[in-house]
């Protein structure tokens, strides 16, 4: 019996090789694929069709929640919980609420940006199959990897491996699950 694998990974020397390979794999019809690089490559987003993410929406909602909470907190304390009448000045003194409302907006928006980033990336994730490839440690230094996962409907160990070899990689290896 053949041991199941997570997928096949091809190693490239430079970003151009990776982007071309990602594009070719996408054209071949592969969809369950991911690229790994030591720095962000804008062209990869086009090649892998990674354009929309929900982070801006999450941050917007975080900001709105933070600002609203900040304002309600101040309104509650100065108008309802601890009203002080100073020479008949209005209790609902909104100009003095501006600063804290602003700060709370920023705080909540930034918190949701960081937590949203982690949530959308599925981090922290201490174990991932690609770490089983010994040379993958170079993905954080100077090498570029393209991985086609075994769960892709088009995946076939021999054919996919042959296809990856046509992309002129440095090496193609199997990824243990």
């Amino acid at each position: 019996m053949i041991k199941p694998i997570y997928g096949l990974i091809a190693e490239f020397e430079n970003p151009t090789g990776l982007v071309n390979a990602a594009r070719a794999a996408r054209e071949q019809g592969y969809r369950k694929l991911d690229a790994y690089s030591p720095f962000p490559i804008e062209e990869l987003n086009d090649a892998l069709h990674l354009h929309h993410n929900k982070l801006p929406l999450i941050v917007l909602l975080g900001g709105i929640v933070g600002g609203t909470l900040g304002y309600i907190l101040q309104y509650y304390v100065t108008v309802l919980y601890f009203p002080i009448n100073i020479a008949g000045r209005p209790l609902h003194s909104w100009p003095s609420y501006v600063v804290i409302t602003f700060e709370m907006t920023i705080l909540f928006a930034a918190l949701s940006a960081v937590l949203g980033l982690l949530a959308l990336c599925g981090l922290p994730m201490p174990y991932h199959p690609v770490f089983n490839v010994p040379r993958f440690a170079l993905a954080s230094r100077n090498r570029f990897f393209l991985c086609i996962q075994a769960r892709d409907p088009l995946f076939d160990r021999a054919k996919t491996s042959a296809f990856l070899e046509t992309l002129e990689p440095r090496e193609v290896s199997e990824v243990a699950p």
Binding site: P15, T16, V19, N20, A22, D34, A35, Y36, S37, P38, F39, P40, I41, E42, E43, L44, L48, L50, H51, N53, L55, P56, V59, L73, Q74, V77, T78, F82, S96, Y97, V99, I100, F102, E103, M104, I106, L107, A109, A110, A113, V114, L117, L118, L120, C121, L123, P124, M125, P126, Y127, H128, V130, F131, F136, A137, L138, A139, S140, R141, N142
Partner: protein, 461 residues
């Protein structure tokens, strides 16, 4: 070389990063500083100074806890004295880090990539030092949590109409957001350290901190969005923080404080002193660790230019301050001006004018601007000048206010000095720990500066 100079793209690249680097050498050079077993003597010397001063700080704080704030020179009417001066000075220094990491990112200034990491670390540690002072100044610092609104049995809450409470929110938000922004920037580099180290413990520690980062394109895409959003949030935040700090003064009616131009003046002064601190740190670091190829002369020159520009804004503010005191016709404001020019704090005032306005004019000369030694000296002069500026604003305005019978001259005690110099020790201690344990230059952002990082597009056929 002649060809390179004619090509505008590679000319920009050449000055931001020295030629000849590859992804591998950039990674190794920055990571080696952290991963090497051989620690340079400079580091031991630096952290020894830091620890010594930190011990002095702990002593001063210990005595303060036992005896109370009376050991400082705080006497009516100067109840803010050194503590608030140091608070404003430190928090201002922090601002350059956020400016470099956030505002210059939004403005697409790629030269920031190799200085933003340690500038942000500087921000964090400066804010930590700044935060010490208002808390120690409380008198009962163990009750500092009373500053925050929380459900309590005392039946009272903070007064949200007070700028001091605004300041609590502004500074704590600033510290939190700066820490998060810094950590998010570190994640890919922590993954690099995890993959490069040979020590099991370091691999475990960096591995936990890296959260399992693997450089996936899907992650990078979200990561880039997150960086831009955080930069967009940090930009108004950093401008707001020193504005709110200046509200502590402007909203009071003390002559010399109660003016509308203080917020922009404070923000410019903050960036001014912050860039001075960036230079004071970058110049020794790059020569000790041989990082001249990454922190190039162009970085120093750009920072010097920012310093000169913000210094001119500060100079304009001084002129405006004097002009409005004279032209405004308010006798108390005029008296403050007269006291500053001829009173007991005149020496501090003239020193700050010399340090902040006159000395930086030398930076107009390219020769002086591109010499690291003169640049280092001028940044130290600016740091001293900016401290004097806060001292003069706070102390001289309080010492001689409306009623001459309440006037009193502030005398700093040795505990004042020990606490102030002690926080410099805290800063140095944290900073030297940082350069030993974490990459002081953002590795992945420097990789993007390399010409090899460009994807060569095929001609569409």
């Amino acid at each position: 070389m002649a060809d390179v100079q004619h090509d505008p793209h590679s000319r920009a690249a050449r000055t931001v990063i020295a030629p000849g680097y590859t992804f591998g050498t950039v990674t190794d050079q920055i990571a080696t500083v952290v991963l090497t077993k051989r620690t340079p003597l400079f580091w031991f010397a630096g952290i020894s100074v830091g620890i010594t001063l930190l011990m002095m700080f702990l002593l001063a704080v210990g005595v303060l806890f036992v005896k109370g704030v009376g050991i400082w020179g705080l006497r009516t009417p100067v109840m803010w004295g050194f503590a608030i001066t140091n608070f404003v000075w430190w928090i201002g220094i922090g601002h350059a880090g956020t400016l470099i990491s956030a505002i210059l990112l939004l403005l697409n200034q790629t030269w920031r990539n190799s200085i933003n990491r340690f500038a942000e670390a500087m921000t964090l540690f400066a804010v930590a030092c700044a935060g010490m002072f208002p808390i120690l100044h409380l008198g009962r610092p163990w009750l500092a949590y009373w500053l925050f609104p929380y459900p309590n049995t005392m039946g009272v809450e903070p007064n949200f109409r007070s700028p001091l409470v605004w300041d609590v929110f502004a500074v704590s938000t600033y510290a939190t957001v700066s820490a998060m922004f810094w950590f998010v920037g570190l994640i890919p580099d922590l993954a690099t350290l995890r993959d490069r180290t040979h020590s099991r413990f370091a691999r475990f520690a960096y591995g936990i901190l890296a959260l399992g980062w693997r450089g996936s394109a899907k992650h990078w895409s979200v990561y880039e969005t997150a960086s831009l959003l955080l930069a967009g949030l940090a930009t108004p935040l950093v401008l707001s923080v020193h504005t709110v700090v200046s509200f502590d003064f402007t909203i009071a009616i003390v002559p010399g404080w109660h003016t509308t131009f203080l917020p922009p003046y404070f923000v410019a002064g903050a960036i001014y002193s912050g860039f001075a601190m960036v230079l004071a740190l970058a110049i020794p670091l790059r020569s000790v660790y041989g990082l001249q190829g990454l922190i190039t002369d162009r970085h120093l020159e750009n920072s010097a230019k920012v310093m000169l520009a913000t210094g001119l804004i500060v100079a304009y503010a001084y002129i405006l301050e004097a002009f409005s005191a004279w032209y405004g016709g308010n006798v108390y404001e005029a008296a403050v001006l007269r006291h500053r020019l001829t009173g007991p704090y005149a020496l501090s005032y003239y020193s700050l004018v010399a340090c902040n306005i006159l000395a930086p004019q030398l930076l107009w000369f390219k020769k002086l601007r591109s010499n690291p030694v003169t640049l280092f000296c001028s940044s130290i002069v600016v740091l001293i000048g900016m401290w004097l500026e806060r001292y003069v604003i706070i102390v001289s305005s309080l010492a001689q206010d409306f009623v001459p019978s309440s006037w009193s001259i502030f005398q700093a005690t040795r505990w004042d000095w020990m606490t102030y110099v002690g926080t410099i020790g805290l800063f140095l201690f944290l900073f030297f720990l940082f350069i030993r344990l974490l990459p002081m230059i953002s590795i992945f952002e420097v990789r993007t500066l390399l010409p090899q990082a460009k994807v060569e597009e095929e001609v569409e056929g």
